[in-house]
Amino acid sequence: MLRSAQDSVAPRNGDVVLRIQGATKIYASLSGSATALLPVTSEIHAGEFVSLVGPSGCGKTTLLKMCAGLIAPSAGHITFADTGNSIAPGKFGFVFQAPALLPWRTVLSNVVLPADILGLDRGAALERARALLASVRLTGSEGKYPRELSGGMQQRAAIARALLHDPDILFMDEPFGALDAMTREDLNMELQRISQNQHKTVLFVTHDIEEAVLLSDRVFALSAGPGRLVETIDITLPRPRSLSVKGSPEFTQAVARIRALLNREEAQP
């Protein structure tokens, strides 16, 4: 794992940013209760790229949203750094499967939204928004409206928005799930570059094992029925990784191992 240790903002690289202790989610329904996620205990470190991978219904999005404090766990807790509380709103960025841009705002205005809500200095925010748009290769689209952009371009704008307030953690819920394979690989490389350059901690949900291995330092393999964390796999491929790494034996081995883990779980419910 090649990672520069120039991160100056707290929490520092390697520190625990998220401590997950027995986090469980049970949804009450009319016919009783359904367990979405059995207790998960783990830690996520600053600067780390962690993917949650698994089939639909494995509770990966539930775990992600619990980490972000958007859903409260039914039991256990998830704490941010050494605060003893869940991460505060405004301290993280969230990217959804859909771009979720506001159609009445221009691209630039959408990216500035976090500053509007958090009451940050508008001039500085606009400057940063322009720089972020440039880094996701959207220079020239600042004044356009979301519907004038393609799906891939909208999702890039959504990533820029999630980074505007320099969040400690970036949560991503299948952000590239709705895109075609070419655009997806393109954005995978871009995301790696951004997360490396800005030393962001990223928690990334996907159902695509290859995508998870390509991007991650660690992969959490989850299985469904009921959702649970099966195993955590370290990915030690050197960085920066190019798409050609997908042909390497280490890559294929890692993918095969995770696939076997998930399949075995599926075979014996």
């Binding site: 993280f92 809500i117 393609s150």
Partner: protein, 276 residues
């Protein structure tokens, strides 16, 4: 990538096609209008229909020239327009503010909803006589009737629009720690704008209906009042002239609403062409 991306944006090809086809359709509409007017003129002059039922268009035109020449039509047109605009603006303000309050307080909304449904089910026009009893003859009653009539479609549509349906948008705002106030002004209200306009389009025409009814039942000014007077003297051309004025007024109000909508809610798809 950018070249192909631009193609997915606004459908330019269809708009240019529509513009190219427009003159022919307009010409056809014009032709039909001329044929109807000419037919009516001939029918009236040949005595096929009694002028009490259908006067010659030239007579209607003469009535219009006469009425506007003496200033009576102009005064009463302004009187009607004034009630429509003031009643409509007041109705809009009350409806949007009330919708904002109700949608922010779910408890209150649940309590008030049965009353809204009950009142909405009643033909609002029917309370015009009651309002005349309460507020007397004249402007005040007219404006209150207009307000009551156009209030409900605007309230219902605004309430509808203020509900956030996009879970991602909601969670996005939550993830940033948005206050209820921010959530309202930066998410729910802008989201409601196309819905509000749907209500306004209905409301503005309701306002015109309300004004005319108010002028029928209790007023001494306005185009509706003129019409009643013309009816009383069996002056059919003047009745038609008043109808023409009301029609033009309705078209003008609708046109203004569409112009405002295209500027304010431009980001919502196909707003101006949806109902064509």
């Amino acid at each position: 990538m950018t070249a192909s991306d631009l193609k997915t944006s606004v459908p330019q090809s269809s708009t240019t096609r529509a513009v190219r086809r427009f003159p022919f359709e307009l010409a056809l509409s014009g032709l039909i209008a001329i044929a109807i007017i000419a037919g009516a003129e001939i029918a009236a002059r040949k005595g096929w229909v009694t002028p009490l039922v259908l006067p010659a268009p030239s007579q209607i035109w003469a009535a219009l020239v006469d009425g506007f020449g003496s200033g009576i039509y102009l005064d009463n047109t302004f009187s009607t327009l004034w009630s429509v605009v003031v009643g409509f603006l007041l109705g809009t303000a009350v409806a949007v503010v009330l919708a904002g309050i109700l949608s922010s307080l779910p408890f209150l909304e649940k309590v008030v909803t049965p009353f809204v449904v009950a009142f909405q089910s009643m033909p609002k026009i029917a309370i015009a006589p009651l309002i005349i009893i309460w507020f007397g003859f004249g402007e005040v009653s007219k404006i209150i009737i207009v307000l009551t009539v156009c209030f409900f479609p605007i309230l219902i549509n605004t309430l509808h629009g203020l509900k956030v349906r996009d879970r991602d948008h909601y969670e996005l705002f939550k993830s940033l720690g948005a206050t209820r106030w921010q959530m309202f002004f930066r998410l729910r209200l802008p989201h409601a704008v196309p819905y509000i306009f749907a209500g306004l389009h209905i409301g503005v025409i309701f306002a015109l209906i309300g004004t005319v009814v108010a002028e029928f039942v209790g007023s001494n000014s306005g185009v509706g009042y003129l019409m009643l007077q013309a009816k009383a003297t069996f002056d059919t051309p003047a009745v038609y002239a008043c109808l023409l004025i009301l029609m033009l007024m309705g078209m003008l109000l609708h046109f203004i609403m569409v112009q405002i909508e295209t500027r304010v809610a431009f980001w919502a798809n196909d707003i101006t062409q949806a109902n064509v």
